[in-house]
Assembly symmetry: C2
Homo-oligomer: 412 residues x 2
């Protein structure tokens, strides 16, 4: 079963809006076991839309068209599909009534052109709208099919999940359920990670295993299982996840949408510990990631952004000396914990460039930590531009604390 | 002159990476007066790439292909183009030498497959690489042309600007120059902004005027001028910019890529002032935006993230009382300036949710400022989720300081 995606809208071609819909649909199709070998973007032009649809139908059994279903005169997806189907558009009175009712319930007058959204090619099936005003369409063309969905991302997603993917799967005779889970890792190169689980990847059939490099968010290992029922698919995932976690150990910091700061929060909350941070090179980035965790006020006291060296000496009370040093970083961690009354202190200092500092090259970063009364520090060498260095330093520091707390034991 | 864009990479179809390159190229083509009527994405598959290229050449005089120029076996753009041109690939020794030299200068061993990047279809012209290892290609196909550029965005952008757009313009006989400039504004609704310059927008012919809403980065007004020479185009832009700035006054905080923190930095540096910040609800976001400005160490001392109320009282020395208050915000600003030895202090406190606090609803934000010995505060009501509230609070605070310094006068 092959399905192409066609995104409609002149604004997409002009670069005024980046089309993220096709990437999202591509991912859903892959998870559903449906091949997507080509995706296109076309403007709000009748002739070119018709021609793009015909070309796509030559290559694939199904097309998902996103956008051009709104009420205005440049929304012409309905007309283009009707021409490809060689049929007329007729007004669907049920849809028209639903549109009138929606405007009525919001107490708004309805411009007559909104009813264009109730026009349906003869032979097409309506996918009822639940979020916006434009219904979707399932349009048979011989033994092939065109799905039309809105271009507004959240409306599109809801409709693709609810109606399009299930219909595609039943047409394609795909009976299985596909479920995936992503293990998120930090602290090793992709080649090392790959080596650690090479035999599992080589033997992969179900679940399949894929690596995704995600830059400052680390490396992801995605497991995708296929089974007759969701429960069986989840069981397959859980078994393989167990094997991989055994191999990867604490390299895995989270699952799916869990962030490094979420992982740190879990460790702190489980042990009843509070945290304060002293930042130089990262300039507030560590603190701002920590407060993005809901409930941060239960364990995060705050921090000191000691960007100027005098702030390190006068506000934090660090002894005067080189600031790109293990001594400075571990003292900063201890002092900020004491000053803010926190159990645990974190600190980071380093050289983000453009010039070296204290004879240390750009990319030198010193991570400081103060846990259970013991100050410590680690030196790392990072690469990237100014902003990447700060991002890498931030996640490296959070990961250092996560590993230290895991080692420490106690409830988490 | 019509030019299509073909993005190459199976990861794009699977949704592992969102293709932002074609949108960017679409915008550059529009500015250069070249029509882009179709854009496509295809996987790393020889047959499908060849067929996508042939289809595109049927519709357009030029194609820009992004990606698939790297050293690995799945980088096959060179081979696909050679087949469409009906020619062989030959190794270009100059390119090979440049690749060897690049590895040598970084002290790295070079795997032999890197030299695949020196393979060039017979008859094609090399676009020398300046950032990565993969050169670009200009490949004539009859009276049409295929450009191949890398998929890495910053390498692609540099090459499209330097070599592709100029070549396209000369082939297309496009004699006019198109130049655009964006005025960035903060502090008013789009409808108000539109009203302030409605007559200019109505009368627009050259330059044209467009509004772009950019969320947390404010509203942009883009001017695009067309003229026989760059100098004449710049003159047209400058004249219209003068009229619009007269109308919009201090709503305009920057031009093109200038950020709010850049604007604040210019005001501070011009007056020889230093800055410190005390943050509660924003949790370090204000500081981290400020240190992203190159040279921040000349005017930014640092800050205190007073997330926990006790940090406000004990570290900053703010008098005990309600923390969601004008008194607290202005005291925080004054105290942080005193504590860190800065001329100017900024502070922000508020309620990011999920629950109200001190009887104040979610979205309540108090901005504090301390300039020339005078503490002051302003209360704003913002909307959005937790993260958006913090972002809006941050830019609102920076904008408040920018306006205060403009008012204050003195050199900037």
């Amino acid at each position: 079963m092959r399905c192409e995606v066609l995104a409609v809208g002149t604004e997409l071609l002009l670069g005024q809006v980046v089309d993220t819909n096709s990437a999202w649909i591509g991912e859903r199709l892959a998870l559903a076991g449906i091949d997507c070998l080509f995706q296109g973007k076309v403007g709000d032009n009748h002739g070119r839309m018709v021609s793009a649809l015909r070309d796509a139908l030559d290559r694939a059994e199904a097309i998902i068209v996103c956008g051009g279903l709104g009420p205005t005169q440049d929304d012409i997806t309905r007309e283009a599909i009707a021409e490809v189907m060689s049929v007329e558009l007729v007004r669907d009175e049920n849809v028209a009534e639903a549109i009138r009712a929606m405007f009525g319930s919001r107490g708004r007058d309805m411009a007559e052109n909104n009813l264009r959204q109730a026009d349906v090619p003869v032979g097409a099936t309506v996918i009822p709208q639940v979020m916006g005003t434009a219904p979707g369409l399932i349009c048979p063309v011989g033994d092939r099919v065109i799905y039309a969905v809105p271009g507004v991302p959240h409306e599109m997603r809801e409709m693709v999940e609810r109606a399009v993917v299930p219909d595609l799967r039943s047409r394609g005779g795909v009976a299985a359920t596909i479920v995936s889970r992503t293990l998120r890792t930090w602290g090793t190169a992709e080649s090392t990670l790959a080596e650690m689980i090479a035999d599992r990847v080589d033997a992969q059939t179900n679940p399949t295993i894929a690596f995704l490099a995600s830059g400052i968010e680390g490396l992801k290992v995605r497991l995708t299982a296929k089974a007759p029922t969701p429960v069986e698919a989840m069981e397959l995932l859980a078994a393989e996840e167990g094997v991989l976690r055994e191999r990867l150990g604490p390299l895995v910091f989270g699952v799916d949408e869990e962030t490094m700061e979420d992982a740190v929060a879990v460790q702190l909350v489980g042990r009843g510990l509070t945290l304060a941070v002293a930042e130089s090179v990262t300039g507030g980035l560590v603190a701002s990631r920590l407060v993005s965790v809901a409930g941060a006020s239960n364990w995060f006291k705050g921090g000191v952004v000691a960007y100027d060296s005098e702030v390190k000496f006068k506000v934090l009370g660090v002894r005067r000396g080189p600031v790109i040093s293990e001594e400075c970083a571990s003292e900063m961690a201890q002092r900020v914990a004491d000053l803010l009354g926190a159990d645990v202190g974190l600190a980071v200092t380093g050289v983000a460039g453009p010039d070296e500092r204290e004879g240390q090259p750009v990319g030198t970063v010193i991570l400081g930590m103060y846990v259970d009364g013991a100050p410590e520090a680690a030196r790392v060498r990072l690469t990237g531009d100014r902003n990447q260095l700060r991002q890498f330093a931030t996640i490296s520091l959070l990961n250092m604390l996560r590993l230290r707390l895991l080692e420490r034991g106690g409830d988490a």
